[in-house]
Symmetry: D2
Subunit: 387 residues, 4 copies
């Protein structure tokens, strides 16, 4: 349960880069930051267009003095204020993550960044080094890993309830790019299908989420993979479908499928993990249930909020069982976990272990994308995971 | 989409009565008020115990000067401040709704009240008259009616897509009171099974939600009903199961079942409405889907956020299709609709039609509860709806 | 597992009345009789039209000498043959069940009859007395009670796994009569909506199945009920929708809904039973799963054929878990249970307890229908179960 | 609808090899052959043990004179009888399919054979040539392809309703071999995990079914694949899990997963096919529904038996919509299609096109298995489909 403290711990002073007019994910980050009352959005450079940035700031009620025309200006100004932002949320197209993050880290400001964290691993390595050097938090919003029953699953695997992990089946299927939407000028479609801005198509946008979800639950790293990237829609130069075979350390075998051309699937993220002692299944379509089958016994439906949920799940669950939580709830859980760390630092307390993904995970995600691209370039050959 | 305006309209200054330590629904109201950034919680009388009220205010970060020991004090003090609260959320046990609401209405403060709005219809009538006399908004948080696909269904019926409505099947099943939890001292169970505080058991707590959900979609009023209230758990004096036959104006026939003793059902609210031209089905367990069957054709899955959703649904939807919205999202949609009215009043603008339930709906809900209780008292006899 | 004996026990010589051209249920009975190889269909009076009867016999490959023009002739001729039929399946419209069954019983031939067994309780009583007097088997094909997981549920309740039964929710929803199909001359619709031939509309055709399903699982009899029969389709004089409140002996409360005007529901028979120690749910849409929730624990999915299925379920299950069984499989299980009794009689063996419904159950079913009709006639008044 | 002819066409005289005591699939074949009354089982060599063969014949009521000690004897004796069998069902372990089929083909008897049709492609080629040379029917019981909604899907693709096929996701997951069941002496597990008898593990037993299901619907052949066969259970030398990437002619990309070590999955065969104009999804768990999503529109649930089902589906459907058909129904549809051909031959009529899989399909299936094995042997390298 996220809102539980004897004394109100205060709110993180937050800025945002990107997320203005026509954006999708910026609004989600704002909802997520607000839900548990642990952040106050006080500054923004909300668009790469200064006019749009200003209009967006007005719509959100930001102080015009802290609505910046560009992120460099913002980093400079905010780091100079005594009440400047403590953290920045970066919700731009992918290719801007690295330059923006670099500027804020250099200004001594913590970073919360969307994924994939960068469009190449060199940038991710640079950011990791920089964050470490400056002693700053760099969180990556792999939001799906914060669903209560995903955390529950993670703990089950860690505790050995599934036995030795054998098989991992993960998929993320969409249909919004089954037609050439980018040719209509739709803003989301335009940058997400532009290799220069996105860094990867289906593999970067959603394949990386699928990988990270499996990574969260399974725990073991992928050692090698064979991948096919395909561009099905005529005129598209970036992949809109990806299929991967995975070999995990420890012997598990996996399959990953991500597609943007699968009619009937809006955002269907689904994972199944099978071990020698049982199997689990979870899907974002019904995120409040986890199917758990101990080998040889009937499948159990573990419901979010029920007494059957373990401590890891309960920690990020808000409302009673049976009332559905959803996408924003999980995204907010991640933001609140990050806030706990930021506020602990402010107050000099001990934040404990970080449950949220960091730049280290972000780097591994970019390496996964690059390995998939390398395999696909080589005709789908088995390729060791880059490191 | 809730967060969309060219210029930030400001935040409603909100107070809360109830919702302190150990409460469930208070936190939900706070999440709901925060999500779209249309409220600022600035004052509270959060518990009937002054000490608990103060501790709860501290935990929520309220100004200690505006953390009140009791609601009378709060109404008095806030109405005297230039920056006093504009609206109060009442989230106490049911028997306190009426006295609290009365005090705040008399102090000129708008009311947002949980349901059932009162424990008897006389009180509800009194509040309706008072609100009208003072020209104040009195909203009732029948949150389920704000799910996007419930609104979609409502519009479908209004537009005649289902033809003449024939059959209504609605149910709300829980299992948390299948054992005598109230004897363990659990706070929620204690007051909800105490007739003096709750006013009704299953019928008041969840039956009224089921009725209101059907009422929202069907549009026609219930004219008569036959009902059985039962107390299954030994030692319990309030109903924990209710079964009702309904006769709607216009000839439709309905069944309503609400139960707190149904193992396997945490909060399963489900409705099916059948007309001469088609049928629909919606359930809170999977609130992002509406099943719609035009007569003689295959069932369609209408998904929240998709292009198949109508304007009424889209108005209260936030995120793209496929990403699940849940309980808090819908609750927040209701709060944001109320905020639009409160802010329009403040700015002198036209708030348009009220889509949220008001004290008039609240009164009808209490009359429904009383009619069910009257029928059950008379051996389940058919009883005209009280008015 | 139905096909298991060390030595082949032989086949029952079976005749059929009704079930010719244009019929639905006759073919089902033939499939059911054939599946486990315990019957041989050797004679028939397959239609009330002699010409159609002969054509139908030809289509089925019956010996023309045993393809009769009418059932009286058939009963006379078959009872006179040394190799005459041992049992007759009666699959005519409802109003003919009684006269046909009477003739065959009087001819010393066992009866397998569709439901409702008669159109009035006087006839059912007469048949019960006659069968007893002649020492003949009279089976009624309430086929849904032979689904493996329905039997499993029945045993669970008998063993007390659910504790004291509190709530029973049963429904059977169809949509095929949502438009006035009978006005198009469709044969099934014509007789099923003709009070003289059907004896009851939705209540007789499917409501009786719903009642019997609940009766099978719950064990306790209904003591009183309040019912509404409605004819929604213009021009129809028989009920196409029925809603009933039920009071069971022992204190359980129930609701029964049967409808032929519910678009989106082809043949959705569904039951939920809740007791003090747990709840179960089963639906014909997915007959190979039973949801079982021990109070306070996660729901389990009990699958047909799995090791979690009890002996009562296993006795009528044929194929391994995961491969779906369906409507014909369950219908055939009933036929095979009847065959075991018929063959045991032939061989002088002990057939053991009868798991299939008999004329006693058939009579109780007709009394249920009559009680519902009586209540509905009296404005939906609570009415003690007729006996 | 399978049982529909103006004049009874007679029954095929059928023999069976294998399928005696302790077998699973033999009983299924017998149920399937009986359901539509198009076969009469008159002879058998039901076990490789003469004593067991005789006991099994006795249990099934076969004429002892036609209960043979071995299949060579049976082929010789039956081909010499004027009323000898017209066709033989071969339901032995896989390694016996080829020698048994050869003997019966040489005896001029049609063959109905379980899959995989042989343990190597050389044998399959030999059988194909032999069947052609003798002018005999050789049917292979890929039963899943006879589910009504699979046929419906096949027709949809052929008619271009899905547009250009892009993505194929097919899987067949079981859990019965997740523990080393073969070490317990269980007969099914023993031969199915013995490479000499099975020819392949998960790939042969269920992977071949998954391939064939996709093949039926998609129409285009696989051109190349990359595969991983894994043996997870300690002590097992045959694969119990297989993961394959597929490249189809025409550019579609696919994934195939088959596993016997997936707890919670008893026999979950599931396929999704996505084209430029829409997507479909079908699963054996709920075989009476097909999800169909025209691009940009809501998903439709096409139900078996409804008016939305096309002619190809209707041809193999038996009972009205809403009543579930299952595994035996589909298996029987295949048998009845084969019977139509056998009976047309007998009567000199035109059987029309063969909708059932033949030895040509069987050979392609074995080549698929061999290609998967070849790829896996070469470290999962992309391998052109053997031919």
């Amino acid at each position: 349960m996220m809102e539980q403290a004897a004394i109100f711990p205060g709110r993180v002073r937050l800025g945002m880069v990107g997320g203005g007019e026509g954006a999708f994910i910026g609004a989600v980050h704002r909802h997520a930051a607000r839900l548990d009352d642990r952040y106050e959005l006080v500054a923004g450079a909300l668009s790469s267009s200064a006019a749009a940035a200003r209009r967006s700031g007005l719509a959100l009620g930001l102080d015009p003095a802290r609505t910046y025309d560009n992120y460099e200006q913002m980093a400079r100004a905010e780091s100079a204020r005594p009440d400047g932002i403590e953290a920045v949320s970066i919700v731009t197209p992918n290719h801007l993550h690295a330059p923006v993050a670099k500027v804020f880290l250099e200004a001594g400001i913590h970073v919360i960044c969307d994924k994939p964290v960068t469009t190449n691993s060199a940038d991710a390595r640079m950011l990791a080094a920089l964050a470490q050097e400056r002693g700053l938090i760099f969180a990556v919003t792999h939001n799906y890993s914060a669903y209560p029953l995903v955390r529950h699953a993670q703990q089950m695997v860690r505790e050995g309830q599934l036995g030795t992990i054998r098989v991992v089946q993960v998929e993320y299927a969409q249909d919004w790019l089954a037609a050439p939407l980018e040719q209509s000028g739709q803003k989301q479609a335009a940058w997400r299908t532009d290799p220069a801005k996105a860094g990867g198509g289906a593999i970067g946008d959603i394949g990386s989420h699928a990988w990270q979800l499996a990574d969260t639950i399974v725990g073991a790293p992928v050692e090698a993979l064979a991948a096919e990237l395909t561009s099905f829609v005529p005129g598209r130069i970036i992949d809109d479908n990806v299929q991967v075979l995975l070999r995990y350390a420890g012997g598990a075998r996996g399959m990953l499928w991500a597609s943007q051309v699968a009619p009937g699937h809006a955002n269907e993220l689904r994972i199944r993990v099978f071990g020698s002692a049982g199997g689990i299944e979870w899907a974002q379509q019904q995120p409040n249930e986890l199917r758990w089958t101990p080998l040889g016994e009937p499948t159990r439906i573990i419901t979010r909020g029920s007494t059957a949920m373990n401590a890891a799940g309960a920690r990020v669950s808000r409302i009673p069982s049976g009332h559905p939580e959803g996408y924003i709830d999980a995204f907010a859980a991640l933001y609140s976990e990050i806030a706990s760390h930021l506020l602990a630092r402010r107050s000099g307390g001990d934040p404990g272990a970080a449950h949220f993904p960091t730049i280290a995970d972000g780097l591994r995600g970019v390496l996964f994308i690059e390995t998939v691209q390398a395999s696909s370039c080589c005709g789908g050959a088995w390729t060791p995971m880059l490191s």
